[in-house]
């Protein structure tokens, strides 16, 4: 037997959901053959076989969440059992000494496994009542799950139906938003950009990207990563814009790289591809990671202003609402102009109000030009 465990899929992702098995017990596979397709918080990943061999068993079915290091499948092995070697006082074995290093007592700083705190009897009760014990929050000492807790969940499930666990991107969104809410001191500035100078069929998203570049050049600090624990920040040279893309599967934020250096045509084709990939949920891992600033163009749907939520470790996010016609005062006269509502959230732990306002001014200048 040889177990193959869920490998590290990068970016500190701790779990993945099985989408589909491409092999079954009894199959013979070659190295790099596709074994299983899983969905992580960020994308769908195809996991290849690390070796050639026959599959003895697969663990988990579609929809199951597997954690990092848990076995995915088992290969059949042809190794024979080593028998115990017993003899008269066995003399020095020729093999190298494997016992030179040992630890007095326990290893330092062992990783803590997050056990569900429930006695075997409670686990059995949960199984009998068909309650998933991992969904039960314990009311006892240090979160110990008690009979009442299991019964409460069982009752709730029978009355209101089962709860739906958050998976994939929706789960990631939930965690990222909670983290942001808990840590970031966000302030939002709202303003309108008057688009009187725009051509008839101006590409709004492209213009927003260009405006972000101009604003980042005016106030580079908003294009930074912030580490509150270390009290450090990194002002970043390239501008990699995270593009919030709404899909039926949830919110994806693929990254458009080095926006400042790319041509309009290149950016547009990049945008189209990102969108297509997001809808298919098949985004290359390197395009899912590490934006330096985020753009949410919810104006393609509905809404005027918002208080967009900053995704750590970035420090700013810009949201654009629906472009509307509005009566504006231009040189003392009323004039109807198309107007784009803008909402800029910034992390006030790093960015000052002045820096953010100047960023907004540069944005507007670029958009109104």
């Amino acid at each position: 037997m040889k177990f193959f465990k869920l490998p590290d899929l990068g970016e500190g992702l701790q779990e993945a959901e099985i989408i589909e098995w491409n092999v079954a017990a009894g199959d013979t596979v070659s190295t790099d053959q596709l074994l299983v397709t899983v969905e992580t918080a960020k994308a769908i990943v195809e996991i290849p076989s690390p070796q050639a061999g026959m599959i003895a068993a697969t663990f988990g079915q579609s929809g199951d969440i597997v954690h990092l290091g848990e076995p995915l499948l088992e290969f059949v092995s042809d190794e024979a059992d080593n028998a115990t070697v017993v003899g008269e006082l066995q003399t020095v074995s020729p093999q190298p000494d494997a016992d030179e290093h040992f630890i007095i007592g326990s290893p330092k700083a062992p990783s803590q496994h997050q056990a569900i705190r429930a006695t075997p009897a409670i686990r059995a009760l949960a199984e009998r009542l068909k309650v998933d014990i991992s969904k039960v929050s314990g009311s006892g000492k240090q979160g110990l799950i008690k009979v009442e807790d299991v019964e409460r969940v069982a009752r709730l499930e029978s009355e209101k139906g089962p709860s739906t666990p958050l998976k994939g991107v929706r789960r990631f969104m939930s965690l990222a938003m909670s983290q942001s809410h808990a840590q970031v001191v966000a302030v939002t500035i709202n303003d309108d950009a008057r688009l009187g100078n725009w051509a008839k069929k101006e590409d709004a998203t492209l213009r927003l990207l260009r405006a972000i570049v101009a604003a980042c050049q005016a106030e580079p600090l908003l294009n930074s990563w912030f580490d509150a624990e270390a009290m450090t920040y990194r002002s970043l040279a390239t501008i990699d814009v995270g593009m919030a893309v709404d899909t039926p599967g949830g919110l994806f934020v693929p990254v458009l790289r080095d926006v400042a250096k790319r041509s309009d045509k290149d950016l547009r084709s990049g945008l189209n591809r990102l969108k297509k990939d997001a809808l298919k949920r098949r985004i290359p891992v390197n395009e899912m990671q590490k934006p330096t600033i985020t753009l949410s163009n919810f104006g393609t749907i509905a809404g005027r202003y918002a208080n967009p939520v900053i995704v750590l470790p970035t420090v700013a996010i810009l949201a654009a609402g629906v472009i509307r016609d509005e009566v504006c005062a231009v040189k003392g006269k009323a004039k109807v102009l198309p107007v784009m509502p803008l909402s800029l959230s910034f992390d006030h732990r790093l960015i000052t109000g002045g820096e953010a306002a100047r960023f907004m001014a540069a944005l507007k200048d670029s958009l109104e030009g």
């Binding site: 037997m1 040889k2 177990f3 193959f4 465990k5 290091g69 076995p71 092995s77 059992d81 080593n82 028998a83 115990t84 017993v86 003899g87 008269e88 006082l89 066995q90 003399t91 020095v92 074995s93 000494d97 494997a98 016992d99 030179e100 290093h101 040992f102 630890i103 007095i104 007592g105 326990s106 290893p107 062992p110 990783s111 803590q112 496994h113 056990a115 705190r117 429930a118 006695t119 075997p120 110990l144």
Partner: protein
């Protein structure tokens, strides 16, 4: 603490730079390739040379150097006064040791085989173990009784038992079992320096099984702690003595299969260092205990009971014991059937992994 006894040579080489040709302190400490029984002999030589109150006694220990040669050359080095052959009388050996220990000597007695210890138990249990308590601390009993124990060497009756649990049950006796040459050296020094009685059980099956480079620096190992031989995440495997070598093979086998097993050598089986064991099981949630002694009433049962008391909520599977059968230790021919081996231990690990 990651103990390494192999670095001394490296240190000495590194420090012998052109700037200073004088031998460093490290270079003067001798490092030697030793098997377990030679490590015991080296520790005895070291401590007798450094502490004049250490004396050695037992059957054939002086002129002959001991049946397994553990006391080789001690008489030549330290004289017949300090290294004494005794009659074939274990009660006398133990009684003599109790008398010497209470009056300022540090006797290291040898019982030739553990199966011969029963005549000595009255002295050890009724006197050595309780001397400190009986005299309200006025007298202590710093003796060491060394006994080769365990099976696997095709020996006759009374030469193969593992009755460590009998001794572990007696409050006041510390029971120590090394599982490698390195630990035998450090633990025996610790045992001789301990102010109370220590039973030092030597796994004779591995007396000459594996040589290690040991630095003869007189460094003792603590007698109140387990040793973590391998770090792992999935299962805790607990053992002691000769069986550690089988356990190491089991760890390797499972490692090849992607399962990481934490291997703990209990070393001091009484009193038990449960803190290390509990910390490991809190991490892995699964535990297998392997010992050569019969399962019933064995130390594995005590460890399992303590895990049930203190680690219930950490456990993902029942604690399993792998042990000898509850029978009289068979003669040489059937010995291999009795002794737990790689297959049995591995099977228990598979069971706790499969439990869920």
């Amino acid at each position: 603490m990651n103990v390494s006894f192999s670095t001394t040579d490296g240190l000495a080489t590194d420090s012998a730079t052109a700037l200073d040709e004088r031998p460093s302190a490290e270079m003067q400490i001798e490092s030697k390739e030793c098997v377990l029984v030679e490590a015991i002999n080296m520790a005895l030589h070291y401590e007798m040379a450094h502490d004049a109150s250490v004396v050695v006694l037992g059957e054939d220990v002086a002129t002959n150097g001991g049946v397994f040669r553990a006391t080789l050359d001690l008489k030549q080095a330290f004289g017949a006064e300090r290294v004494r052959d005794t009659p074939l009388a274990e009660g006398l050996i133990a009684g003599l040791s109790v008398g010497m220990a209470t009056q300022g000597l540090k006797p290291v007695a040898e019982i030739q085989f553990m199966g011969f210890m029963f005549a000595a138990l009255e002295q050890l249990i009724c006197h050595a173990a309780r001397m400190r308590n009986r005299t309200r601390g006025r007298l202590t009993c710093p003796l060491v009784v060394r006994m080769p124990f365990g099976g696997g060497i095709h020996a006759p009756e009374h030469h193969s038992e593992s009755t460590e649990a009998l001794l572990a049950h007696i409050p006041g006796l510390r029971v120590v079992i090394p599982s490698s040459a390195t630990r035998a050296y450090g633990l025996l020094l610790g045992a001789i320096r301990d102010p109370d009685p220590v039973i030092f059980l030597e796994p004779k099956r591995i007396y000459r099984a594996q040589a290690q480079s040991i630095c003869n620096d007189g460094q003792a190992l603590p007698l109140d702690t387990c040793f973590t031989l391998r770090e792992g995440e999935d299962v805790t495997l607990i053992s002691w003595g000769a069986l550690i070598s089988e356990c190491t093979q089991v760890v390797e086998q499972w490692h090849e299969q992607g399962i990481s097993v934490e291997l703990i050598d209990v070393a001091t089986v009484s009193p038990l260092d449960m803190a290390t064991i509990l910390q490991s099981v809190a991490k892995t949630g699964r535990c297998v205990i392997a010992h050569e002694a019969p399962k019933t009433g064995g130390i594995g049962g005590e460890i399992a009971a303590q895990l049930a008391e203190h680690a219930l909520l950490d456990l993902k599977a029942p604690v399993l014991r792998v042990g000898g059968y509850d029978t009289v230790m068979p003669y040489a021919k059937k010995e291999a059937l009795y002794l737990p081996g790689v297959a049995e231990i591995s099977n228990a690990i598979e069971q706790v992994l499969a439990f869920g």
